[in-house]
């Protein structure tokens, strides 16, 4: 089984009211390192069978047709999450595949 991850974010030029509210709450809890917060949406589309390019293309179509509104949002990422934990393990910590591919490597 494969899973397609679709990430949708509010457009940069729009003030994101929800992100602004979160940004206001963080310093009150002692997290004063973060100057701004933007809140987006992550969709997990589960498919049976192996990950195929056509599935990714269908997910892209769904992303621009219904999962996002191009007036206020951008689809920032559509990708396979092939190492997704099964539903029974969904409480576990996300695996490393959720991390950006370009994560700095230890020079050792």
């Amino acid at each position: 089984m494969a899973r397609v991850i679709v990430d949708v974010m509010p457009k940069p030029e729009l003030l994101d009211p929800q992100g602004k509210a979160v940004a206001g709450a963080l310093p009150r809890l002692g997290f004063d390192q973060f100057q701004a917060v933007r809140q987006g949406k992550r969709f997990e589309l589960e498919v049976s069978g192996p990950p195929a390019p056509a599935l990714l293309e269908a997910a892209r179509q769904a992303a621009v047709t219904v999962l996002s509104n191009p007036v206020i949002e951008d689809v920032v990422s559509v990708r396979f999450d092939e190492g997704a934990p099964s539903a029974a393990q969904s409480d576990t910590v996300p695996s490393a595949v959720d991390l950006p591919a370009a994560l700095p490597q230890d020079p050792a």
Binding site: P10, L15, P17, A21, V66, V71, I72
Partner: protein, 234 residues
């Protein structure tokens, strides 16, 4: 013949009964339409009422757009059928691309419910032709996701083409761009606005006025305008 105005109910719609009652008080016949209907039942116009269609999940109005009845409404609207979208109905109209722009959360992040003063910017629509240009009206406003946004070129185009129909007066209750409360399409048959005309149609239940409490009936003029337009006098 009596004007027949359809009122669509989606799962989660709240104000369809108020809209039907307003239509009756204005002298037209309200016709209930269901989201799964595959016919518009020969109505002369359609109202998309307020509420939280499909729980407002995903985005306000986003799932309602794909309801079977909306395919018919969109097609008929392109053919000139008068359509009025109120609050959540306005959100459905933008998601359906019958009107430009979109609505996001109020800039102050709180639900707002108040008697709202508006200026009528255009009386050249199917739903506003019995108002005077520049007329001030008061009708209720109640929303969480009411901040109208669009890019600058779209806003400039709306202004240039006279398609801003209502502007907030006194206080902009949700941070809407250029104080816009309602807009229309190029044909003037489709109008969407965040405030609620159907809640200001009956003495005793409307907004306060200078003469008496709860006596405001400015909402009736929306439906009187539609009747006038269909009878060829508006």
């Amino acid at each position: 013949m009596t004007t027949r105005i359809g009122v669509v109910t989606f799962p989660g719609t709240l104000d369809e009964r108020d809209a039907l009652r307003a239509i009756g008080l204005a002298g037209a016949e309200g016709v209930s339409l269901w989201h799964a209907d595959r016919s518009l039942h020969q109505v002369d116009a359609v109202v998309l009422p307020g509420g939280f269609s499909y729980g407002d999940y995903l985005r306000a109005g986003a799932i309602a757009r794909f309801a079977p009845v909306m395919e018919l409404v969109v097609e008929a609207a392109h053919g000139g059928l008068p359509v009025l979208g109120i609050c959540n109905g306005f959100q459905v109209l933008t998601e359906s691309h019958l009107l430009p722009g979109s609505m996001i959360k109020n800039n102050h992040l709180t639900f707002v419910c108040r008697e709202q003063r508006l200026r009528v910017e255009s009386n050249r629509t199917a739903w506003t032709n019995q108002f005077s240009p520049g007329q001030e009206i008061v009708i209720p406003l109640k929303n969480q996701d009411g901040q109208f946004v669009a890019d600058e070129s779209t806003l400039d185009q709306l202004e240039a083409e006279g398609r801003v129909v209502f502007r907030y007066q006194g206080w902009n209750p949700n941070g809407s761009r250029r104080d816009i409360a309602g807009i229309t399409n190029a044909g003037g048959n489709v109008v969407g606005l965040m405030p609620h005309p159907e809640h200001a149609v009956e003495p005793g239940f409307g907004p306060d006025t200078a003469t008496a409490p709860r006596s405001g009936q400015d909402g009736l003029t929306f439906f009187a305008s539609l009747i006038a337009r269909l009878q060829g006098t508006g």
